[in-house]
């Protein structure tokens, strides 16, 4: 018995150790290093000679809180999360319902088609979307001109740049959540719908009282993952606008990247990273709390 137990633990460790080792070296260690860095003024001078490194306590964090650029980036990031997140989840759910509907033909084709943007390289996607958004030759403005709307400078106008980025990000990402929603939908037993129909429930009430409640756990997962992912928005503005025009698409991660790798202010950039971590943690806790309260 003890031998069995022992060999079980041994094999468990054998399976775990490689993954743990990799995580320790490539994940926990860098996080720890970044945490320590955030209390120093590691910069180009320190990179050349460590004697020129100073321990600065919380001054990076304080400077960050005083920096207008940080607040701009924070505002933009919230804009992206609050508008883009729910929009993305809603569209994923809608697409999942459509693809999963019994009347839909070729559901396999649509599943694949909607999932394609997720696996496509962002840079390739960005090139295409830049054409779509082109103020003079873009398809989008052409479509708008047909219904009499004046051309919009999607990526150049400070007010339109963020909506344009959100639209592209939602289009690029909704397929992933859709697949998860489809899996959730297929787990709902058919008998429930049958029973509801016999009781006289229409499509809307079936959706409201069967589909939505039973999708609850899936919903929580999707909402959490989307929020976490959207808080870390980087590639879309980096490729499409580089944070412009007038910093209107500058996200926190983009700011971090600029400070870290453009100006090489590693201490300051690390502090920004931990601020973002705290924000995301708070957001996650809030969502979990809301979700937990709901059933009761």
């Amino acid at each position: 018995m003890t031998y069995r137990l022992h060999s079980l633990t041994l094999s468990a460790w054998a399976f775990l150790v490689p993954a743990l080792l990799l995580m320790a070296v490539f994940f926990f260690l860098p996080i720890l290093a970044a945490f320590l860095l955030s209390f120093t003024d590691f910069d180009i001078y320190a990179l050349g000679d460590l004697n020129r490194l100073r321990f600065v306590g919380f001054s990076n964090y304080l400077q960050l809180l005083q920096s207008p650029l940080f607040w701009t980036a924070l505002g933009n990031t919230f804009y992206f999360v609050i508008v883009g997140g729910p929009l993305s989840v809603a569209i994923s759910l809608g697409a999942a319902l459509l693809v999963n509907a019994p009347l839909t033909r070729f559901p396999g084709f649509f599943r694949t088609a909607f999932f394609l943007p997720v696996v496509t390289t962002l840079v390739a996607v960005a090139v295409v979307w830049r054409y779509l958004y082109h103020p003079r030759y873009g398809l989008l403005n052409y479509g708008l001109s047909l219904i009499g709307v004046a051309p919009i400078d999607w990526l150049g106008d400070p007010d339109w740049a963020m909506p344009a980025i959100i639209l592209m990000a939602v289009w690029k990402n909704f397929g992933f959540n859709m697949i998860i929603f489809i899996a959730g939908l297929q787990n709902i037993p058919m008998q429930l719908y049958e029973a509801a129909r016999i009781d006289g429930a229409g499509a809307w009430r079936q959706f409201r009282y069967i589909t939505l409640p039973l999708l609850g756990p899936t919903f929580l997962f999707v909402a959490l993952m989307t929020m976490i992912g959207y808080f870390q928005v980087f590639a879309e503005p980096y490729v499409m606008t580089q944070g412009g025009p007038a910093n209107r698409t500058l996200s926190i991660v983009l700011l971090m990247y600029e400070e870290g790798f453009r100006w090489w202010n590693m201490g300051y950039a690390s502090a920004a990273a931990f601020m973002l971590f705290v924000l995301m943690l708070a957001g996650t806790m809030l969502q979990l709390k809301l979700q937990r309260r709901e059933p009761s």
Partner: protein, 479 residues
């Protein structure tokens, strides 16, 4: 029970320890093989110099290398082409990762940064073998950007500065045969052009998100951008302020449209349409203008060195006088002749000393071979050849005597301007400071901030950026 698990765990522990010798054997044999193959290649193969160059330079420089490798059969060159947009990050990361190339191209404003990093090998010892005429053959202002603390850290490869691209026909229509030589003349020409035929017309295009022109004007006005050994911003100084206000007035009076680079959809089309008559830009646009302007524009545009600030006594004449009067040939030639006399008030017409340089990595074990390549690329013949390939203007003046440049219609103004170029402050923080200048200039142009407010804020930001530098100097550490 607990105890038993514990002892057995101990036993396993020993068991796992047995794996170590195996691992060690595996690792050491791998290393041995690597070492042997490494040795082998060193015997058979020539020295391979790794050379990083950016953008189209990285592409085109390959055409110069067969001749180099013919002259030095023991050296092979491996060129790595890096996109400009990622070049700075890539070099810094290479330095942090101890993976620097032997020879690399870098923007000459990056030199102070790489000197602070101690990533560059100084060239003074090696330059002693050069005749002094070869060194003075470089444009003085450009070479100065490669020198820091009385040492030469890199050699200019090609040069770059900013000057006027203008429509000769529009200037003529406004009554001027020549481009302006002074700020005053410049203002007059511009206000005349603005009134040429109502409609949507501006005199000049100055992208609001660029720092270059405000800084050029300040340098012309004789402003020191930073003070006290580059420890503090000096942007509230009357000289800088005057230049800044002059720049803002161009927008306030409607002479320049308040648009950024990305908002001007087709620069060349607008230039051809006459939306603006003057554009401040660099040598890369000679080729672009030739290629992209419609055929009807041929011969209707020209390049010219920048006008300069003139001492107040000459400025007192009211600028509201007619344009024809202001193109007074006397005052024109006066200002031009005073160039280069070194008088501070007449630091007329200076522009920025831009361009790219070549530097040796400090940690490279192949510095001698890399230096041979650098010397080769610095030869006037190769510089002229490189110009033919890329359109990049040579840093060696001897190369300008090559017929391809000597008879070039648009290059002459650059040659003239390059005699009057000035470097930006040689500190690693400069790019960040320039970024702040651009930011506050844009706010002031868009009238989201008062000019003086913007300068106060600029000084405050710059002082914060320079805090580390002040601390280093205080500690007696070399920044």
């Amino acid at each position: 029970m607990d105890f038993k698990v514990f002892t057995q765990n101990r036993a396993d522990y020993r068991y796992t320890m047995h794996m170590f010798p195996m691992l060690r054997l595996f690792l050491s044999s791998t290393l041995l093989i690597l070492w042997l193959t490494g040795c082998n290649s060193a015997i058979d193969r020539p020295v391979v110099v790794e050379f990083w160059a950016m953008g189209q330079e990285g592409e085109q420089v390959k055409a110069l290398l067969p001749e180099f490798e013919r002259r030095y059969p023991g050296i092979r060159v491996q060129v790595q082409q890096i996109p400009w947009s990622a070049a700075h990050e890539k070099l810094l990361t290479a330095y942090a990762g101890d993976a620097m190339p032997d020879l690399f191209q870098l923007g000459n404003t990056w030199i102070p940064e790489f000197v602070a990093l101690r990533a560059i090998e100084p060239l003074d010892e090696r330059l002693k073998t050069w005749p002094s005429a070869a060194i003075s053959d470089y444009f003085t202002g450009i070479l100065a950007t490669n020198q820091l603390d009385h040492q030469t850290w890199a050699l200019p490869w090609y040069v770059d500065t900013r000057l006027f691209f203008y429509r000769t026909d529009l200037l003529a229509a406004a009554g001027f045969a020549e481009p302006p030589a002074t700020w005053d003349g410049w203002l007059q020409i511009m206000s005349r052009i603005k009134t040429l035929d109502g409609a949507q017309r501006y005199a000049i295009l100055l992208p609001v998100n660029e720092w270059q022109l405000p800084v050029i004007l300040a340098l012309q006005r004789g402003a020191a951008l930073l003070r006290d050994q580059n420890q503090y911003g000096n942007f509230q100084h009357p000289h800088f302020r005057e230049a800044f206000l002059f720049y803002l007035s161009l927008f306030k009076e409607g002479l320049a449209p308040p648009v950024s680079n990305s908002q001007m959809i087709n620069l060349y089309q607008e230039f051809a349409n006459g939306t603006f008559a003057v554009y401040v830009s660099g040598p890369w646009n000679i080729g672009e203008f030739e290629r992209r302007l419609p055929a009807a524009m041929k011969g209707k545009w020209m390049t010219a060195a920048l006008p300069g600030w003139v001492v107040p006594s000459t400025r007192s004449s009211p600028p509201s006088q007619g344009g024809r009067d202001s193109a007074n040939p006397v005052s024109l030639s006066l200002a031009r002749e005073d160039w280069g006399k070194g008088d501070e008030g007449l630091a007329a017409g200076v522009s920025l000393a831009g361009g790219a340089s070549l530097a040796l990595s400090r940690t490279s074990p192949r510095q001698d071979a890399a230096w041979k390549l650098l010397e080769y690329l610095a030869q006037p013949e190769q510089q002229a050849q490189f110009y033919r390939l890329t359109g990049d203007l040579p840093a060696r003046q001897a190369a300008w005597n090559d017929p391809v440049l000597a008879n070039h219609r648009y290059a002459e103004a650059f040659r003239q301007q390059l005699q009057h170029v000035q470097a930006t402050p040689p500190i690693p923080e400069w790019e960040r400071i320039a970024n702040r200048i651009a930011y506050y200039t844009e706010l002031a142009v868009r009238q989201e901030m008062q000019a003086d407010e913007a300068l106060v804020a600029l000084d405050r930001d710059v002082d914060r950026i320079l805090e580390k530098r002040r601390w280093l100097l205080e500690q007696g550490l070399t920044p």
